[in-house]
Symmetry: C2
Subunit: 142 residues, 2 copies
Amino acid sequence: MEPRISLITLGVDDLARARAFYEALGFRSSSAGNDNVAFFQAGGLGLALYGRAALAEDAHLALPAGTGFGGITLAYNARSRDEVDSVLAQALEAGARLLKPAQDVFWGGYSGYFADPDGHPWEVAWNPFFAIAPDGALRLPV
Amino acid sequence: MEPRISLITLGVDDLARARAFYEALGFRSSSAGNDNVAFFQAGGLGLALYGRAALAEDAHLALPAGTGFGGITLAYNARSRDEVDSVLAQALEAGARLLKPAQDVFWGGYSGYFADPDGHPWEVAWNPFFAIAPDGALRLPV
């Protein structure tokens, strides 16, 4: 296995609503999508949206009885502190729910969280220790 | 916002166990990690492991009462059908649980699923319609 991730698929309740949200954030729909699934190029990987129940069925997983934290967060690392504020504002304008206002954090950066229309949590962070290449790739210290 | 994802963080119950699992799959720990968090370079993004409760607290989210599908799947797109089988075998050898044996799927590819030691679902798929660059980047149709 090569150390990489190809796709992240978010289970959604309303594909049209979710697609509109991510398009409002600047993601462009791929022609590979259809009425049941959306794909967006996200740097070197794909972000996909698919019905939550259909996704669970595809993975042979049971749907949870309750709601709450699914155990995964996504993050967008901004190029500056100011970009954290502007991306959070853009997300709220597009219909996100603010989970945590941007604030200085113990590890030396600046970070906030929003939830997308299906509740998937995204951190928006400025981390002065992680480099971001011109093409947007994150480069961790080796 | 640029259309990209910087980090995926998986909430884990046992960081040492989870780190060992991903190292067995070929991911290399970044020096940015410590006793509380692990980071792996995964193509142009970072894969992070962090305590599940601490991650929920960081995102100002409640932990779920139950278990089940968290609503997100990750995927590794293999370069061939045979690589799907070998990656699934490697994951099981490293301690994963098989969710769905690899099989021909309706969209024209070949796919199976495993769950990592904390239950996070990964699809391993060969998709003849999505290109994989030499550096591992997935390229969706425009």
